[in-house]
């Protein structure tokens, strides 16, 4: 089997995906700018994509790579909706800082 996994073992991919995912989670939790938060969510999803491709190659099974296409398409739709909501908020309050969104408390 002439696979890339002969040169870079699967564990490295899993570790890299876990690190990228953790960076994304930290970004969502600690950054206050909504656009940066979107980017961090994308980072989380792309970590998953990389993990799925690596596993797919490892198992010699194509369904993991098909799943990556599903995730990419859905992520694009999700970001389109998210940016639309963001633009709407910007038109109303002229900022994208999520700490300014504090009308709902109780």
């Amino acid at each position: 089997m002439n696979s890339i996994l002969q040169y870079i073992p699967l564990n490295y991919y899993v570790a890299l995906a876990a690190i990228l995912f953790a960076i994304g989670v930290m970004g969502v939790l600690f950054r206050r700018n909504a656009i940066i938060i979107f980017m961090c969510i994308e980072l989380m999803l792309n970590a998953v994509n990389m993990l799925l491709t690596a596993f797919s190659t490892f198992h010699g099974d194509e369904s993991g790579q098909v799943m990556v296409f599903f995730i990419m398409a859905v992520a694009a739709a999700e970001v389109a909706v998210g940016l639309a909501i963001l633009v709407m908020i910007y038109n109303n309050i002229r900022t994208v800082d999520i700490d300014e969104l504090n009308k709902l408390k109780g």
Binding site: I41, F55, L104
Partner: protein, 459 residues
């Protein structure tokens, strides 16, 4: 399957309504389509057909939940007329609601993790738009934004879990995953990836059903979103989320119950206690209902924890009784939103201004609080019975105690409604709200008197 096709086509048709100028007859078309979908769901009972290389499997469990969600949507149409007619984007709103329903039906019928993901996202993305659909109202914007951020964040966890499960088992198919896990359990070499994957999927799903440590977004989103959309979220979407949750855990991860059930039991307990206690302190009825829906999520989690042979039918009975009763409560809340005051105290004078309504409101409140002979009592009874049978006595005790707290804040609604307002003011319900309240009270009573109607379905 025909149900799914009809509902999704109906969504596409609704999108065309604006361009092809048949907006005036759109609502009758939608109602007719929903009824047709319901008919197909009932007629394919006991067929157990799977489609698209085992991607979806329409067994009795998914058909029952699909029918329930269509019925609740039909009830919901009664109060949503105003929401549709008041906006110029009626066609888009109707299409989005139908797409949410499409996603919800996929979530009850998936037999493959990729299909589950697609169904969940069809449901969620449409909902983000609907939650933010009141464009000029900042609170609605905020609700949409919070829902979007939390939803996308939870999806990330869910997908990482799915990827790890795929890494261990090399398949997305639920049945194959289940057989892999049972073989590896017998051999005693279940890989770490499976356990980590189950935990991450659990976190993602607990976010979606707003269980205790992950519930903080729910009150804000429920309060900020337009009231009719909140009604839809609290009923249909919650039903779909629990149907999917139970379906996934009962088919895939039932072999490793010992690994996740204690965690889930603690989460269920804290969800019930937290939701009920926080609901007591709310002044706004809409926010109170949000916390009460969190508490109800805790009760439903108990059925997943118990995971025995009555769990499926008890979770079905519970979602049915909860959705129908809260639909009636949301009709009341819609009248409150229309007059601009959503606080519980503004209910003063309600029974004086609307002769006879208090009987039906009390029936709904009884059902929510779990008092016989309403549906909510039997729903809670079977959930508690299932937990007892699986040996969770402590959890049942906590559930009973926390539902006593629930009685306090639910009854406040009745007491305040019975009081007179000094200046004679008070909310006045319109015909649609009256109809929905009476109808849902009667259905709750019917299920309460004959619970075997739903319980004997072989799910």
């Amino acid at each position: 399957m025909n149900t799914l096709i009809i509902i999704s086509l109906l969504g596409v048709v609704a999108m065309m309504a604006d361009a092809l100028r048949f907006k005036k007859i759109l609502l009758p078309i939608i109602v007719a389509g929903l009824v047709a979908g319901l008919g197909f769901a009932i007629s394919s009972w006991n067929t157990n057909l799977s489609y698209y290389h085992d991607m979806v499997l329409f067994n009795n469990y998914s058909l029952a939940f699909s029918s329930l969600m269509i019925v609740v949507t039909l009830l919901w149409m009664i109060i949503s007329k105003h929401y549709f007619s008041s906006s110029s984007n009626m066609a888009e709103h109707a299409a989005l609601v139908l797409f949410v329903l499409t996603g919800a039906i996929i979530m009850t019928a998936f037999a493959d993790l990729s299909m589950f993901f697609v169904g969940l996202e069809i449901l969620s993305i449409s909902l983000y738009v609907l939650a933010a659909s009141n464009k000029s109202e900042l609170r609605s914007n905020e609700a949409g934004m919070k829902y979007f951020l939390m939803g996308a964040f939870a999806t990330g966890f869910l997908l990482f879990g799915i990827a790890l499960i795929y890494g261990a088992t090399a398949t997305f198919n639920l049945a194959k995953i289940a057989s892999y896990i049972s073989v590896s359990q017998a051999a005693g070499n279940t890989p770490m990836f499976v356990y980590a994957g189950v935990l991450l999927i659990m976190v993602g799903l607990l976010f979606k059903v707003s269980a205790a440590p992950f519930h903080f977004w729910a009150p804000d989103v429920y309060e900020g979103a337009p009231t009719v959309i909140t009604a839809f979220m609290a009923t249909v979407v919650k039903t779909a989320a629990f149907a999917a949750f139970y379906r996934m855990f009962s088919t895939c991860f039932v072999e490793i119950t010992g690994f996740w059930s204690n965690t889930m039991a603690i989460i269920a307990a804290s969800t019930m206690i937290g939701g009920n206690i926080l609901a007591v302190y709310q002044t706004s009825l809409k926010r109170m209902m949000a916390y009460s829906s969190i508490a109800h999520a805790g009760y439903m989690l108990m059925a997943i924890v118990a995971m025995n042979k009555i769990s499926a039918s008890s979770i079905f009975l519970y979602t049915a009784s909860y959705s129908i009763a809260s639909m009636g409560m949301f009709a009341l809340m819609q009248a409150m939103t229309a007059s601009g005051d959503e606080s519980v105290n503004s209910l003063k004078g309600l029974s004086k201004n609307n002769k006879g309504i208090i009987v039906f409101i009390s029936a709904l409140v009884f059902s929510m609080a779990g008092i016989p002979p309403m549906a909510g009592f039997f729903a809670k009874y079977y959930i508690f019975l299932g937990a007892m049978q699986s040996g969770y006595q402590w959890l049942t005790l906590i559930a009973v105690l926390s539902s006593l707290i629930g009685v306090y804040y639910y009854f406040r609604v009745i007491f305040v409604s019975l009081q007179d307002n000094e200046n004679g003011a008070g909310h006045v319900l319109n015909k649609g709200q009256w109809t929905l309240i009476v109808l849902s009270a009667l259905i709750s009573l019917l299920i309460g008197v004959i619970p075997s109607l739903l319980l004997t379905l072989s799910l």
